[in-house]
């Protein structure tokens, strides 16, 4: 009997490295597509928002297919509502599966947040309380997602503007438990850490020190906007509309010192600059990755940190 096409596909998939290169990547915006295909810039990978590529056909798929020929790919979901109180949307899970089967990305990540209520999609990453009940739900949703996609996913720490009185876990303890119970990996968004540290009055360095770093397989860097709350305290907004701030670069170096060099994404989704400015941000991250790699071991690879004991 001849090998079925699906068996062939699997052997192709096996040849592809199943992890992102330890380099800096950039979030893909359609307005940069022409620049990218004409100059084939030396960036490590591109990341897309899954929900922008779920139509049947047309230019989005044509562009992504072209990019995929030359670059490793990370697919980042923004709409699954993993933290939601209701079951995951099966139709959306099917769409994710179709997208991942088609493009075979090296990585898939989603958020610790909710965005769907009843039949309504709210188009934002809304915060969840950290309780035994929400933990159980997040764990079951991630198990369902990993079963569906047949791969380990990465879960991103959120940017939040307020907390819940009902929370009985710290965010880090909650993420710790999710990792322990599902085997998923983590996406450490360093900008989110900084935004939360300011918004919730804690030290960003302490958060990085306590984070289950051994399970982090990707880092996000982005820019924030500044606002003020009811008491006039600074409130940072995770707006993805600016260059990475000096404080976040510093925190990134701290994270790299703990984790060692890992794939790092520049996220600049809103009011994105011309391509060269984005590429320059990626090069800056890449220089820090090289510097970290050159200095040898991270605390982790040296066996100093023991964050998650399973």
């Amino acid at each position: 009997m001849e090998a079925s096409p699906s068996a062939k596909d699997r052997s192709v998939a096996k040849d592809r490295p199943r992890s992102l290169p330890v380099r800096a990547g950039v979030g893909l915006k359609s307005e940069h597509f022409d620049d990218i295909v004409t100059s084939t810039p030396d960036v490590g990978f591109f990341e897309i928002h899954a929900e922008n590529f779920m139509g049947a056909g047309g230019p989005p798929h044509a562009q992504l297919t072209r990019i995929r020929q030359d670059y490793p790919l990370s697919v980042h979901g923004v709409g699954l509502s993993i933290g939601g109180a209701q079951p995951l949307d099966r139709a959306h899970l099917d769409r994710l599966k179709t997208l991942i089967d088609r493009y075979q990305p090296e990585s898939f990540s989603e958020h610790l947040a909710w965005s769907t209520h009843g039949a309504n999609y709210l188009n934002d990453l809304l915060p969840i309380p950290y309780t035994n009940q929400t933990l159980k739900r997040v764990v079951s949703h991630i198990n369902q997602l990993q079963d569906k996609l047949q791969q380990r996913i990465l879960l991103e720490n959120p940017a939040t503007y307020l907390g819940y009185q009902a929370s009985s876990y710290s965010e880090i303890d909650f993420l710790h438990e999710v990792v322990r119970q599902t085997g998923c990996g983590l996406l450490l968004d360093v900008n989110n850490v900084y935004v939360c540290a300011v918004n919730h009055g804690f030290a960003a360095d302490d958060y990085i020190d306590a984070f289950p770093m051994a399970h982090v397989d990707e880092i996000h860097l982005a820019g924030f906007a500044t606002d003020y709350d009811d008491l006039g305290e600074t409130l940072l907004i995770d707006a993805h509309c600016a260059p990475v701030s000096a404080s976040v670069w510093k925190l990134y170096e701290h994270a790299l010192a703990r984790r060692g060099p890992i794939p790092t994404l520049i996220e600049w989704d809103n009011e994105a600059p011309a391509w060269p400015a984005l590429q320059a941000e990626a090069e800056r991250a890449e220089a820090l990755l090289r510097k970290c790699g050159a200095t040898g071991q991270s605390a982790l690879s040296a066996g100093v940190a023991h964050d998650v004991d399973v």
């Binding site: 929900e51 922008n52 779920m54 139509g55 049947a56 056909g57 047309g58 230019p59 989005p60 798929h61 044509a62 923004v78 709409g79 699954l80 509502s81 939601g84 109180a85 209701q86 949307d89 139709a91 959306h92 769409r95 909710w114 965005s115 769907t116 209520h117 039949a119 309504n120 999609y121 709210l122 188009n123 934002d124 809304l126 969840i128 309380p129 309780t131 009940q133 929400t134 503007y161 307020l162 907390g163 819940y164 009185q165 009902a166 918004n199 919730h200 009055g201 804690f202 606002d227 003020y228 709350d229 009811d230 008491l231 305290e233 409130l235 907004i237």
Partner: protein, 255 residues
């Protein structure tokens, strides 16, 4: 099993959509103070984000009524109709209906049809890919079999009939530096199609809308022609061929 968080979820959503409402119970800030402005960040993300999606999708409507009016209208729509899918390309399916019933837009009766055209263009943009049937291949089909043939339209084809000159309004507001004067008494029917990667919109000749509607429903070519009360058949066939709107022709033996 309903949980506290589910009830909180409903309250959260209500407060997101009502700018006058206080934040839902159970939230806190690190300093123990009020959380109104903090909650307002989420409210703004949701409502402003969805308005921005509508501005992008209905950019000619935005140009026609101006930013302030459009945002007011879009905000009312968002509060009445949240997305039902995380695919924002599907958001706004009934925006044109909303616009036609939106009291302050009464003076612009063509506005909802312009919204319909913009929706159709977006649909064509995201439609399934298919190669249009080459003109030469169509021309080789024996003429005496064409009447009984089923013409399969390209999956991107969208048809719009309007009593207003919607295509002229859309075209001049999309491409002309200075907007041309449009004759508002001229009704226009429009064919939208994306045979390859670029979406194109064409004014349909007399009878073209009825013809193509019938073809889209699976009628034979001769039955589709009969569906039109008055038809400029040569012009219709010419447009069908040149626009790439034909995906395939199934020739059936005549009975």
């Amino acid at each position: 099993m309903t949980s506290m968080f589910e009830h909180q979820g409903a309250a959260f959503v209500r407060a997101l959509l009502d700018p006058e409402a206080p934040p839902p119970a159970g939230l806190k800030a690190w300093h123990g103070g009020h959380v109104s402005k903090r909650f307002a960040v989420y409210r703004n993300n949701v409502v402003t984000g969805l308005i921005a999606a509508l501005e992008q999708r209905f950019s000619v409507c935005l140009r026609l009524v101006g930013e302030e009016f459009f945002r007011e209208m879009a905000q009312s729509y968002v509060r009445a109709s949240l997305p039902t899918s995380p695919m924002l390309s599907e958001y706004g399916v009934d925006f044109a209906d909303f616009v036609s019933a939106f009291e302050p837009a009464r003076g612009l009766p063509y506005l909802s049809d312009v919204a319909r055209l913009e929706w159709a263009i977006g649909r064509a943009y995201h439609a399934a890919d298919a190669a249009p049937m080459p003109i030469n291949a169509i021309k080789r089909i024996p003429a005496d079999t064409l009447g009984g043939a089923i013409i399969r339209l390209h999956p991107s084809v969208q048809l719009l009939s309007s009593r207003f000159p919607v295509l002229s309004i859309w075209t001049t507001n999309s491409f002309d530096e200075t907007v041309r004067v449009v004759n508002f008494d001229a009704a226009e029917d429009t064919l939208v199609v994306r045979p390859h990667l670029g979406v194109a919109a064409y004014r349909l000749p007399t009878g073209g809308y009825a013809l193509m509607k019938a073809l889209a429903q699976g009628a034979t070519l001769s039955a589709a022609c009969a569906a039109a009360a008055d038809i400029d058949l040569p012009a219709c066939l010419q447009l069908l061929l040149s626009s790439g709107a034909i995906a395939a022709v199934d020739v059936r033996p005549r009975t």
